[in-house]
């Protein structure tokens, strides 16, 4: 399987990439790690006339801490996220999520920016970013703007990115010390997308939930923030009754697509179960 013919461009700077994208227009697509785009091109689901490779742009790489925020270049790979002591210590939810994406080879190439820009509800970073309240920096010919993760994902393969914009940076507020976390992902085998998965960040006050963030992968045409479930938990102890209620409320917003991973009822039930497990695992890690 060979992709359709296209012209290849490898700009060396972000400015050059922005002007190339503007001048080549909708015929062009950005190439990051290529591990969603090239498979789609092989299948003729995408047939861009031009690929603009972001691989040589140094400014799009790297992970740093900036006054309470973890700043990640869009071309940072999953392997780089996993290898980063900063990510592991400051935002362990991101490391736990990235470790469950695809397989080692894919993680050397796949980038966090590509995973988010692709707009695939089966991808894992969107729910992680929703739970973390991340902000995305988008750069285009009109300059830079910042878009919150919440509201960025519009539908299947559709995001707030305009066709002439590049996702350049992911900015994650570092969760307060003592915040519990978990990403629970049910998959059929290594390298598979989630049958259902739930990301949780949890702050406790004594035995009661102070604040919960819950986000769902592959439960609908976009990743979802389960706000009703979050609200229902506030002020409650995490016991069988409150867990069951949170799982029920998370399931109530699921609209998964039936496929080889399961039918709608099964996937919805698994979303409930992943939500329950993620809350329990986050609870075990949370300070009081």
């Amino acid at each position: 399987m060979i992709p359709p013919s296209f012209d290849y461009h490898a700009p060396r700077s972000l400015g050059e990439a922005v002007s190339l994208l503007a001048s080549l227009g909708e015929e062009a697509k950005l190439l990051a790690g290529g591990h969603s785009l090239l498979p789609m091109m092989k299948l003729r689901f995408a047939q861009p006339a031009h690929l603009i490779d972001l691989g040589a742009i140094q400014d799009l790489r790297g992970i740093r801490e900036e006054s309470g925020t973890l700043v990640i270049g869009a071309m940072t790979t999953e392997a780089e996220l996993l290898g980063s002591a900063l990510v592991r210590s400051k935002v362990p939810l991101l490391a736990e999520g990235a470790s469950q994406i695809a397989d080692p080879q894919v993680r050397y190439k796949g980038t966090i920016g590509g995973d988010l820009s692709h707009g695939d509800p089966g991808n894992d970073h969107p729910a992680l970013m929703l739970a973390l309240d991340a902000q995305f920096v988008l750069t285009g010919p009109r300059g830079q703007r910042t878009a919150p993760a919440n509201g960025f994902f519009l539908g299947l393969y559709s995001t707030q990115l305009a066709p002439d914009e590049i996702l350049t940076q992911i900015r994650i507020p570092i969760p307060a010390a003592g915040t519990g976390w978990s990403y629970q992902k049910l998959k059929r085998k290594t390298g598979d997308f989630a049958t259902a998965a739930t990301a949780v960040l949890l702050r406790m006050k004594g035995t009661a939930v102070a604040q919960a963030a819950i986000a769902l992968t592959n439960a609908a045409p976009t990743a979802l923030r389960a706000t009703a479930a979050e609200r229902a938990l506030a002020g409650k102890a995490l016991d069988a009754a409150s867990l069951a209620e949170a799982a029920r409320l998370a399931m109530s917003i699921c609209q998964p697509a039936a496929d080889l991973r399961g039918d709608v009822a099964y996937k919805t039930a698994m979303c409930g179960e992943m939500t329950r497990r993620a809350l329990q695992a986050a609870r075990a890690r949370a300070g009081t």
Binding site: P4, L38, K109
Partner: protein, 163 residues
């Protein structure tokens, strides 16, 4: 036809170049232009790992990498593992531990295991299984592959110069 690109890179330590269309996948350049047929095409859909090669210190599936993305890269294939006619410790261990049957997955397994041991010279069994999870084998049941990687790790630790 799209504009051709002359892509120069290093293959198993030697400078090579190929004139390719941008859509050409690395596995085809290796196999059909450069005569390096060690890396195999299994699925061509980024799932099986038979095409795994080492590129700039990363294990990559060469069916999902464009040759034009490898300009200036340092590429290592299974052909580059042996030194002066002697098998690499991993190759020797796959032989001794019966880590292959039909051999189709083996070049990819070896190249992935090579990078795994560079990054983690003494992996646990769980780390080997997690680190090799992008490579499928339809014959061995994986048990002897894990044993071979463990055995190679021990030998390399005893004789680091052979790495």
């Amino acid at each position: 036809m799209a504009k051709l690109h002359n892509v120069a890179f290093k293959l198993n330590g030697k400078a090579v170049a190929a004139e390719v269309e941008p859509r050409e996948l690395l596995i085809y350049t290796l196999r059909e232009r450069l005569g390096a047929t060690g890396a195999h095409i299994g699925c061509e859909t980024s799932h099986c790992g038979a095409c795994t090669v080492d590129c700039n210190g990363m294990s990559v599936k060469s069916c999902t990498v464009l040759t034009v993305q490898c300009a200036g890269a340092d590429v290592l294939t299974v052909e580059g593992l042996e030194r002066g006619g002697a098998l690499h410790a991993l190759q020797q261990a796959f032989h001794e531990e019966h880590g292959l049957q039909c051999g189709y997955c083996t070049p990819g397994m070896l190249m992935r295991a090579y990078r795994l041991l560079q990054e983690n010279p003494s992996p646990s069994e769980a780390e080997i299984r997690y680190g090799m999870a992008g490579n499928l084998c339809r014959c061995t049941g994986y048990q002897n592959i894990v044993k071979a990687v463990q055995s190679a790790a021990r030998k390399l630790a005893a004789k680091p110069a052979a790495a």
